[in-house]
Subunit: 314 residues, 2 copies
């Protein structure tokens, strides 16, 4: 699965993943009001507005990006109707040919981790019932519980040809509180990085192994060090745009051939209609604004993150 | 909310939380088959069997324990129908007077953490729609992302009178891979413990603050050290029974007055009907077996974990 992502990025020359993180503030009011009128002023109605918003954005970007990343929290916030829209969104993205990274950041142990993995990456069968669950292609996973938490995910990935991104160094200001602590000459995130490499060996890929790493765009020096330290690990890079990192910072996250990283933008793309730069689209054409912002981001990365590489192309 | 839990434990003299973690192997076959016959051999049918199993167990234990802890993974494994049973279970437990600890181990940053918190601990309102989400009383949270990940949870807890248990030292064998790393004279889990104390100060309680700690029963020496280090922190203690810890190990997790900890058992109680000790109940009376196992655990903790304290009572 990681090889599939890498090929798709290269074919489309687009190392961009669109974060599908709807909130009541990002979904245009007219979309919400239409949905509430039809479905009632209920959580179901709000969830329906998320679905319509997602569908329009997916339609607008599915030919220019290889993957999307729905953030579980935004759907769980609406309770069961929200979670149902998460599932529906994953299915629709697959119909449109997109790979789906479930940003679920789960992390538990043993049979509990196995249950999360089955629920999100491939399903299981019991008592003659086949369950597919949420069926993403990738999931983000939290490493705090150690190997016991990751192994069950790796086993499900092997069985169903899926892959992971493990949190290594996150993009937020306080990520250093624990992640940057120095332990016997290595930062904690480096210990986690080294374990990721080890876990990935159980899911060998042609170019990158099946255990990727989340490495925040806001710490380019860390990105550079980890790129060298993890030659067979693909990076999922949050923090571009809204969180402050620019394309110029991101060259070091890529390998010399322009592969090895996929950069996320959520608000910057799906909320583009609210930015001055794309205001001309208006709330009505929010999906066109998202497409324009995605095209800008792809161009920005090609020109500013990938120019250090021969040809500048991914 | 943490004070409420502490009072309930003391009133019932029962520092026990029952883990509601159904799996196809724990739910008796006759319960599954009945549900599949009525609802079809579908994920909905399996979910219905989980619901019936949970309801029977809740009915059997609600007068002897203060709280239950449904594990999100087991429900997510069944996709949307499973998540709907999670919600239904929380609601039913509240009707029966139980406190509910959502074992969700979420952890993210900023607005994403806030969305998880709203979805699980109190809800929110937007565009005239009131959303209550899953509505647990407590949630377990992962600390790897630092203060940015915890603060939004703390704010929601303050607004809605809820509380948290942050993962500090987990019960699994590989928990030491990262958690036991020594950093400037303190283990990583001690750094996390100290942060928990700090985070808890924003949710002051009469006896214990609103940020509790998950401390595994399988490391009693750690429990003893952390009990001294965190005088205003209540512990959620997994690992009794099935994972190998005995009541004798658990005295050190409690304060001198017998408060300060609640011990979880999942399989040991809900799967009691499968143990030789409770075999006489048979699969038919699985809920009575669960009650018997819960009563045994309460007695075991009173006699062996709390006897170091004057009177031996909680």
């Amino acid at each position: 699965m990681m090889d599939r992502l890498t090929s798709r990025i290269a074919e489309m020359a687009s190392p961009v993943v669109v974060g599908l993180d709807p909130t009541p503030a990002l979904v245009p009011e007219w979309v919400i009001m239409e949905a509430l009128e039809e479905c009632g002023a209920t959580p179901e109605g709000l969830a329906e507005s998320y679905w319509r918003y997602n569908k329009a954005i997916v339609d607008a970007v599915c030919d220019i990006v290889p993957a999307v990343k729905p953030q579980s929290a935004m759907y769980e916030q609406l309770g069961v109707p929200g979670v149902a829209v998460f599932e529906k969104t994953v299915k629709y993205c697959h119909e449109k040919g997109l790979l789906v990274i479930g940003d679920i950041k789960r992390g538990d142990i043993g049979s509990t981790s196995a249950a999360y993995a089955a629920g999100h990456l491939g399903g299981f069968a019991a008592c003659g019932v086949k369950v597919t669950g949420f069926d993403e292609d990738f999931a983000t996973v939290n490493p705090y519980l150690g190997t016991d938490g990751i192994k069950p995910f790796v086993e499900v990935c092997r069985e169903h040809d899926r892959a992971l991104f493990v949190l290594v160094k996150t993009s937020n200001p306080s990520s250093g509180e624990f992640q940057d602590r120095l332990i016997d000459g290595r930062m904690l995130y480096e210990w986690v990085a080294d374990k990721c490499v080890e876990w990935g060996e159980a899911l060998p890929g042609e170019r990158y192994d099946g255990v990727g790493a989340v490495v925040g765009a806001t710490y380019p020096e860390v990105g550079r060090k980890l790129r060298e330290r993890m030659p067979k690990t693909c990076f999922l890079v949050p923090g571009y745009g809204a969180q402050g990192a620019s394309a110029k910072d991101l060259g070091v996250y890529f390998d010399a051939d322009g592969t090895g990283a996929i950069v996320n933008s959520s608000r910057g793309i799906i909320g583009a209609w609210k930015q001055e730069k794309y205001a001309a689209y208006g709330a009505e054409h929010f999906a066109d604004a998202a497409r324009a912002a995605a095209l800008y981001m792809i161009k920005d990365l090609r020109e500013n993150a990938l120019t250090k590489h021969a040809g500048g192309a991914v």
